[in-house]
Subunit: 139 residues, 3 copies
């Protein structure tokens, strides 16, 4: 059994989806992993990890707008307002999506569908340094 | 350490929950897995995997109606409309639920609660062939 | 390869977030786990598991209020009403959040961010006994 860890840092600059599929695959290839589980976990509660369509970029625009309407940046709606109007909506969006994703690797290939990419979904307005832990367990 | 993979295909026919708990357990039994993790991942971004109540079917009706209201099929709300009025709501519902679930197996038993079943939640209107990858790691 | 299981029971008393990070870490320390994956799964579909901010308790108040507005306890909205006005909203909140979380352990340390805690999110009004299965796989 092999286990490896890797901290990927993603520098974000506003509420967007940031794809990191290529960096993840590069790390898998570098280590020649054969079969195993890859656990991705983001070490923050105001940004998420999601698997989404990587074909039409309009899907990302619609996702950002949708979540912005679903959890509006309106201080009147929340008690927790000290960290900025975007902070409580960011925690809500984090709860509505995911902090963590487990993916499978088979014969060295990360098992994603044809139109699937892995994204960091940033919910804060200003630039952030985000850490995504990669943890492989397998052989 | 044993690892096994299995692609379960589920043919869907509209916005419904399709239970596949029995097929998953059948595969576990066939291989005589003892203890381990089972990672389920759907290779699409317009359908989801969820664990839900398997007792009263009204729960499923309410879930479908609820998500349909939460992410309405209304082209005026979205930029991405080229794939049909149900496509962007499907991506949103996928983001709000899960692409992937990890379950535990102990002494050959899939650890689900008494009232829990595993479902594919189809968000598209027309028939689809969906692939759910099963990946076991354990002994 | 080591595998260990543990059923943590959490007694809840209404719609709140119940942190159990300390109990999980205590179990990890007791077994001297080194590296591995920890799969947490809740055996119910009317309560969730979430990783959220553990600093300002107002975040939890806002989360509870937000989800209560997003899935209101209003019998007129649902078909499934026989188990109480809080039951169908509880299933919806469960679908919107998570039944299961996989976390990574490295050199004996559970990899959570500085401000992250693990919570049971109770969606029912009355007291419940909830089981959260802990499953470690690693060395």
């Amino acid at each position: 059994m092999i286990q490896e860890f890797y901290n990927l840092q993603v520098d974000t600059n506003g509420q967007k989806l940031y794809e990191f599929t290529d960096q993840t695959i590069e790390w898998i290839n570098k280590h020649n992993f054969k079969n195993g589980m890859l656990n991705l976990s983001i070490q923050h509660t105001s940004a998420s990890l999601i698997v989404q369509e990587n074909a039409d970029p309009d899907v990302q625009t619609d996702l950002i707008n949708y979540f912005d309407k679903l959890a509006p940046m309106d201080d009147k709606l929340y008690v927790h307002t000290t960290e900025g109007k975007d902070d409580m909506p960011a925690h809500i969006k984090s709860a509505l999506t995911n902090n963590q994703i487990s993916l499978s690797i088979r014969e060295g290939v990360l098992l994603l569908g044809t139109w699937q990419g892995i994204y960091l979904f940033e919910h804060r307005l200003h630039s952030q340094k985000r850490r995504i832990i990669h943890h492989f367990i397998g052989d």
